[in-house]
Symmetry: C2
Subunit: 362 residues, 2 copies
């Protein structure tokens, strides 16, 4: 791998060492080693969970061919010295580096995600890290209870409550708990009908508000992910029916998750349930309606990682952490999404998200 | 490009549209278009700064070859329909996609960074965004002034001041101002001798503390970057001399920045200055000492982007924003780094960082 471990989770997973600039990881003959810049080498030697940390600048001294491709010359000489003629790289390996190594005679084959098979299987420690990030979300979610309704809008301490103000308070709460949250969704009314719209402007009473919060722990670097849909005030009957249907689909999905289950079958079963209740999916007037995203995705060092519960083929395995988050979106009724994270086991799963599911907040 | 615009700044630069999962960008015949999932298509149509947004699922319907490589089949059919036989991709283009497209007969050539030449040249609006993030740093920096010294440690409101507590307050301040900061360095004593060590534990009086703060504005997505070295209490004479030397080198560097200047020459001139003052660079007792990182890097949508002022060859251009941040690190004296961001113009540069440079804080 040649990547920065701050942006590439495989690199972080393999080394447990954080650095902002790309560095080089090689595993050969069962031994892992890093080639590090002078800037990072001492820190890498004390922190990285690898067998050896070597100096890039020492190899550079030896190579000294100069010119714009010197970096890849150094990498090549390093591989030569290690006797490496062929290597397996992640799907995300940069094409520029791939071309340069192949041009020098190194055979590269690409392994699709998961690059490290064991990364999708979460240990107790990893699940604890995910749960800790999750508990920070739970603690930050009770904001709307204290709001009061005036003329259809929500007020807190005399100020109108907006998507932005709730998001800001959520982010501050999460930071207090050592988590960084970005792009948190607090979307009301028509904003919420676009599943990745973050939401803007005043929140309205009696309308669905989707919260989708996915903070990353600064310490462990693991994510949590939860969505809830709530109404401050009174939900319409059609919205209540929509909510109950999504919840039924979500609970159905959770009941199907177990070792060996097919993600695609779970997704299709929820789709069929929604359809049987009359909730159709497709374009209406040039806009998507219904259930038009996947049911779930793995959560770990990346917010979206394998496995998937979606149109794609994935077989769930014991130890994976995956979300179950169906949603239904109709501009004339409203939008509902409910999301928990579950930990797959032999015969079912453990729900890691304990936050309640109640549509109306008084 | 095939990338997520949340992680790939070229994709964000080209589209000004944020999405967490990879999508497809093609520019051909002067027209830019996106191929988007059902989940993102409506939001992309309203927000993305491109000429057309097309539906991935409509192409998928047409392709329907099935199998694990269907995604690349769809991309290929899309390119075929657009009459694309060859394409230029960024250096970071994933090797897996590169191999798949070439196997289908599309010729790919890689363009090194900067992929978009114009991205390194900052407009007034971009510089304003960078300055706004910078002003958030300035406002958060005055924390140490209020601390008091007791028995060699710092106290604020009765509690001992640590790297972690200062970092936390800085991050909260920055978040209040709409910026996300991570990996902020507040490193004292020997921690600071490792330039990317974030710093841990109680801060000590009379010892250098390096602050390196590089928040990203959540709104504009531009970074700022600043470093300062301070002592709460009294600096030793040898540390004062080290500080004065780094400051001399930094001011020398800033005075050399202008359109057409060679980054490498500036870096080497600072190196030579340090050397002439007796500050040598190299390994001592298995640990790097002296000035062993680059002098500067571009700042924009990425915290580290072209140009560089370092060992590499780069010619500075009018409109670039680049840091000037030499440092000297000696475990027996201390560590000093001073960093400003400057905006390159025809005959010099404008310093965007106005925060004062004073070693001792009383």
């Amino acid at each position: 791998m040649i990547a920065s471990s701050e942006t590439d989770s495989n690199m972080y997973y393999a080394t447990r060492f954080l650095a902002p600039d790309p560095f080089i990881y090689l595993k050969t003959g069962g031994r892992s080693c890093l080639l590090m810049s002078d800037l990072e080498i001492d820190r890498a030697r004390s922190q990285a969970k690898v067998d050896a940390v070597l100096s890039y600048s020492e190899y550079e001294q030896k190579t000294k061919r100069g010119g714009p491709s010197e970096f890849m010359d150094v990498v090549y000489d390093f591989l030569q010295e290690k006797g490496v003629r062929e290597a397996t790289v992640p799907a995300s390996f940069p094409l520029a580096y791939g071309d340069a190594l192949r041009a020098r005679g190194i055979a590269l084959s690409v392994k699709r995600e998961p690059f490290f098979d064991e990364r999708v299987i979460k240990s107790k420690e990893e699940v604890d890290a995910i749960c800790k990030a999750q508990s920070a979300v739970d603690a930050a979610m009770d904001l709307l209870r204290n709001a009061e309704i005036r003329e259809g809008f929500l007020y807190l301490n005399g100020s109108v409550v907006t998507s932005e103000s709730i998001r800001r308070v959520l982010h501050l709460h999460l930071m207090e708990k050592g988590c960084v949250a970005q792009h948190t969704i607090v979307a009301c009314g028509s904003d919420a009908c676009d599943p990745h719209n973050e939401g803007y402007g005043p929140l309205r009473a009696d309308e669905p508000i989707i919260f989708d919060v996915f903070p990353k722990s600064s310490e462990s670097r693991y994510y949590a992910d939860m969505s809830r849909t709530v109404v401050k005030g009174k939900a319409s009957d059609s919205l209540k029916r929509l909510y109950d249907t999504v919840l039924e689909g979500q609970l159905l999905g959770i009941s199907r998750v177990k070792n060996g289950a097919h993600g695609k079958e779970i997704h299709e079963e929820i789709m069929a349930l929604f359809d049987s209740h009359g909730y159709k999916t497709g374009q209406v007037g040039g806009r998507m309606q219904g259930f038009f995203h996947g049911t779930g995705h793995g959560v770990g060092l990346d917010i979206h990682e394998p496995p998937r519960i979606s149109k794609s083929d994935w077989i769930l395995q014991k130890g994976e952490v995956v979300t179950v988050e169906p949603g239904l979106y109709y501009p004339d009724i409203g939008a509902v999404r409910i999301e928990d994270m579950v930990w797959v086991n032999e015969n079912g799963c453990t729900n890691l998200t304990t936050y309640n599911k109640i549509l109306e907040i008084k």
